[in-house]
């Protein structure tokens, strides 16, 4: 491991001092003079017509400043909320996009849907007034699961969306796939449910909108992963204010996992109300609101088939998925079960023909959108569980079956049948290393030991791949994305040689303040303690697309490197002048500029001082040392690896103990191995949560959210997890300047399949997530009875 503070060194996170000493500045820590407090009245019904809303008593309530409803929002032409990714259906038609008002107008469509905003001098008064709002609801039958919603005769969530169908989409060559199936030696088949998850970021969403009537400018403080995208959408599509009159600030944000990418009703309404009442308006979500109204994740129902020849070579794969979008389309909902999912179904394998069809539809549940991994965990789960089933069906060792089908290390770039061109990798290397770390060859002995104690033991593989570094703008544009997905970076030297980096990436737990500082410190020779990283403020950062899809280092970091190159280029001119040498003779290494073949050198600190105090300066050169760059990636990056889980199950109780875990991830080059390992740990924990514990349940009859608190929604804890064995392999990404791939989501993508393959290996029976003790116990009992 590298010493010091440069690239490759496990530098302690600069930001942690304030986080662990209570000095973080989260949204609820921010207050504005004279602010009023907002409270949202939410629908208690899953599906109901609104016959009327009487706000008279609420308006007359103590301390109330305003009570606003959907009718007023519509009258002011604010909103509706948008979905920013257009999907073309099988039949060539665009996806069905029903209106998404920020406050309900004629109907409420899920429990937690926004009905009115009450603004008062205090939060207590706002809540008291909300109790006095009389809403005349006419209940309608709800539908909560996607299979029921797409069936004939289902309740209609939107009157203008027939059959609740958002889109019927396909990817791949159907004819070639069907032909390969018809000639197959064996077809492995699996029905799967990818359980719906609630993100549960530690900090609930919040918004504080401040209107300055003197300059007619709105400032929004919000828990966002992408403040510039929020500003763009609020300005261009929601009618809040022009971009030059809207500043969006996302300060320290306590976790996002995707749920804070989106532009929600709450911040929109706070902005609207702040201008209307000419006072700052603050809303802080409560945990109950997070459960009800943060965008949920996953929720797929899938049938998948894999065709194999006699030797176990994959011939073709066929996948049919139904995806639940909830009641409305969230900001990027449509992309998740289509282009972020179907395009990863080749996995690490050379499967020559793949066909995927996805029906996305509406239900009376909270909107569903990207959640850590966003489509790729769903794809990996399908591929890796199906491969395991094929191995069991054919009696081939699951590791061996994978090896027979891996894309070979010399086959890159590798074009899959589902759009993606993998950039680099060595899949067998990761698998072999993981097998060694978990001592796969000793598993039979450990299993025998477990059985001697009356326990079941299982080993499960997950050889995952994902697409990160989102994304080449032209490529995603051709697939329907409404935005470019480049990133900006700015390096500003101060006259005394210290540096501020401005990045369009946003850190809400990823450690950018450390990693990005390491990049610049290593490249430009500035001591890391002299480097600040500034992010999250549209008023200071040039521009940005934010943080999601494990893109920050690959795209945001690359933009910073491009800016560093510009700094070096200009510095060489200044250094050449100071050393009275020709520019082409000046060499640069880590902040030291020297003339080849001489002992002459100047440091970048001297160059910076000269740039700002240009008394002795090259003619015609601009003063200052401050460079901005934009970086648009040439391709996605493709982190991949193998996770192996080992479990021991007590058939008497159904309790699954995660006995061991080996993770080998190829993230390309590593900047800070400690941060990478932390990201992997967190990702695995989230994946284990999905596989063992977490599930979102809506009551089928009433549409009520049954798992609406931590009494009923079970999150993973430290005692549910083993000590992970984490290693990396490092095949550099060939197309970005850092050779990096992205590590933020890998754990959550790899883990569920590894764990479920281990559990089903132990049980000898397929079950769906989450593998709760009850479900595992029942499977263990029926498996024993069958013996």
């Amino acid at each position: 491991m590298t010493e010091g503070t440069g690239i490759g060194a496990p530098v302690r996170r600069k930001e942690d001092k304030r986080f662990i000493t209570g000095k973080g500045r989260y949204l609820d820590d921010i207050n504005r003079t004279g602010q009023a407090y907002a409270y949202f009245l939410r629908s208690p019904h899953a599906h109901a017509k609104i016959n009327g809303i009487d706000v008279a008593a609420a308006k007359a309530s103590s301390g109330v400043v305003a009570v606003l409803t959907g009718a007023e929002l519509a009258a002011d032409q604010i909103g509706p909320l948008i979905c920013g990714w257009a999907i073309t259906q099988k039949n060539g038609e665009p996806h069905n996009a029903p209106a998404h008002p920020a406050l309900a107008v004629d109907k409420v469509r899920y429990v937690g849907d926004h009905v009115a905003i009450v603004i008062a001098d205090s939060l207590a008064e706002a809540k008291d007034a909300a109790e006095k709002i009389e809403v005349d609801y006419q209940e309608l039958p709800p539908v909560v699961d996607i299979a029921s919603a797409l069936a004939d005769g289902a309740p209609q969530v939107h009157d203008d969306v027939a059959g609740n169908l958002c889109y019927d989409w396909e990817l791949g060559d159907k004819a070639a796939t069907d032909a390969a199936f018809s000639g197959a030696h064996h077809v492995a088949k699996l029905d799967l449910v990818n359980n719906r998850l609630i993100p549960n970021a530690m900090e609930p969403r919040a918004a504080l909108a401040d209107y300055d009537s003197g300059i007619d400018e709105l400032t929004l403080y919000t828990t966002s992963q992408n403040p510039h995208v929020a500003r763009l959408v609020l300005a261009a599509f929601n009618g809040i204010a022009p971009e030059n009159k809207l500043r969006v600030i996302a300060p320290d944000v306590g976790g996002g996992f995707g749920s804070k990418i989106f532009i929600y009703a709450e911040e929109l309404c706070c902005l609207w109300a702040a201008r209307k009442i000419n006072r700052p308006v603050k809303w802080t979500g409560e945990r109950s609101e997070s459960f009800m109204a943060d965008a949920h994740g996953r929720d797929h129902v899938t049938t998948a088939e894999l065709a194999l020849d006699q030797e176990g070579k994959f011939l073709a794969m066929r996948v049919s998925t139904m995806a639940n979008f909830g009641a409305y389309l969230s900001t990027f909902a449509t992309a998740v079960p289509s282009y972020l999912y179907g395009t990863l179904l080749a996995g690490q394998y050379t499967t020559p023909a793949i066909y995927c069809e996805v029906k996305g539809g509406f239900t009376n549940t909270a909107p569903v959108d990207a959640y850590r991994g966003a489509g790729r965990p769903e794809a990996t789960y399908v591929v890796e569980r199906l491969v395991e089933v094929a191995a069991r069906d054919m009696g081939i060792d699951p590791a061996e079956l994978r090896k027979r089908n891996f894309v070979a290390p010399d086959a890159f770039p590798y074009q899959t049948p589902v759009i993606m061109a993998y950039d680099s990798g060595n899949y067998q290397l990761s698998l072999d290393k993981a097998m060694e770390m978990i001592n796969a060859s000793g598993f039979a002995q450990r299993k025998a030991d477990s059985e001697s104690r009356g326990k079941l033991r299982g080993l499960g593989y997950s050889a995952y791949i994902e697409a990160c570094g989102i994304a080449p703008s032209a490529a995603v544009g051709s697939l329907g994305a409404g935005v470019g997905l480049w990133e900006s970076g700015q390096i500003r030297f101060n006259p005394t040689g210290s540096v501020t980096i401005y990045t369009g990436s946003h850190s809400h737990g990823q450690g950018h303040e450390t990693t990005f500082a390491q990049l610049v410190s290593d490249h430009l020779g500035v001591p890391i303690e002299n480097i600040e990283v500034s992010h999250g403020d549209t008023g200071t950062v040039p521009f940005g697309m934010g943080t999601y899809g494990s893109r920050s280092l690959a795209v945001g970091g690359s933009a910073i490197m491009k800016a560093a190159d510009k700094i070096v280029e200009k510095s060489k001119k200044i250094a050449a002048h100071l050393m009275e040498a020709a520019v082409e003779d000046v060499e640069h290494s880590r902040g030291v500029f020297s003339v080849a073949g001489t002992d002459k050198s100047v440091t970048i600190a001297e160059v910076a001082f000269t740039a700002y105090v240009p008394h002795n300066y090259p003619e015609g050169l601009e003063p200052g040392l401050d460079e901005t760059a934009f970086y648009d990636p040439l391709n996605f990056t493709f982190p991949a690896g193998t996770h192996i889980a080992e479990v021991e199950i007590d058939p008497a109780t159904g309790v699954v103990e995660v006995a061991d875990w080996a993770a080998v991830d190829d993230f390309g080059n590593i900047i800070n191995p400690m941060i990478v390992e932390g990201q992997v740990h967190g990702g695995i924990a989230q994946g284990v949560g999905q596989a063992l514990l977490e599930n979102t349940v809506y009551d089928k009859e009433t549409g009520q959210l049954v798992t609406g608190s931590y009494m009923d929604y079970c999150m993973p804890r430290a005692d549910d997890l083993p000590s992970f064995k984490v290693e990396t392999t490092n095949t550099p990404c060939p197309h970005n300047p850092l050779g990096v791939k992205g590590c933020g989501e890998a754990g959550a993508i790899a883990a569920p399949a590894a764990l479920m393959n281990a559990i089903t290996n132990a049980l000898g029976k397929e079950i769906d997530m989450p593998a709760t003790p009850e479900k595992v116990w029942q499977a263990a009992q029926t498996a024993q009875a069958a013996e």
Binding site: P44, A130, M292, T702, L705, G708, M711, D712
Partner: protein, 208 residues
């Protein structure tokens, strides 16, 4: 939530019917009932204050009677609104049958809660409802068996169903109010909402 059961009451059907239709008896028997007001012959409002654990809650609600078939039984249904706290609603079919000198009261209840009540309290509703039902019948049985029920005439009989309904409604109302007051404070608050449902259940019983 679904709940069925029956109670043997040591009194004649006539006596039970009268007691069930006596607002005073109901008010005494329904845990926390404060007011029972008649809106029409088959509709009532009621306020009930209930305490579960550390939380006291007040619900306001409306109750309606249907399928009235004296003295065999009826269906009673009710709904209590808690504003931001959500709602509770339920329906009970109640029948009275004679068995020797006693009366057997049978009930089949379905009830549900929505919004925050469901989000926080759905797991607790069964236990709360059963406890409330037990408390109701214990008190009711004591009163009827002790002969403190009004001996009262036809007027009482006719009015009683309505009063019962009203009690349920009021109970619901008060519970709602208390939920409002306690709102946001503690998960137990929402349990108060469940009580509304229980109250409605009780009312059903009383009606028969």
């Amino acid at each position: 939530m679904e709940m069925t059961g029956e109670q043997r009451i040591a009194a004649s059907r006539e006596t039970v019917w009268q007691a069930l239709n006596d607002p005073d008896v109901l008010r005494q028997s329904i845990p926390g009932a404060e007011t029972v007001d008649k809106v029409s012959d088959t509709e009532f409002t009621a306020t009930v204050t209930a305490k579960v654990g550390p939380v006291k809650a007040k619900f306001k609600g409306n109750v309606a009677l249907s399928d009235i078939d004296p003295p065999n039984g009826y269906t009673i249904s009710g709904e209590g609104k808690g504003g931001a706290a959500g709602f509770g609603k339920g329906e009970a079919k109640v029948t009275l049958t004679e068995d020797g000198g006693d009366t057997v009261l049978s009930y089949a209840v379905t009830a549900s809660v929505g919004g925050k009540l469901a989000q926080i309290g759905s797991r607790l509703i069964d236990g709360v409802a059963k406890k409330m039902a037990d408390d109701f019948f214990t008190t009711f049985n004591e009163i009827v068996a002790a002969g403190t029920a009004p001996t009262a005439g036809e007027a009482a009989v006719e009015a009683a169903p309505e009063d019962v309904t009203a009690a349920a409604l009021e109970a619901a109302d008060r519970a709602v109010e208390e939920v409002r007051q306690a709102r946001g404070a503690n998960p137990w608050v929402w349990v108060g909402g469940l009580i509304l449902v229980v109250v409605l259940v009780l009312i059903y019983f009383s009606r028969s």
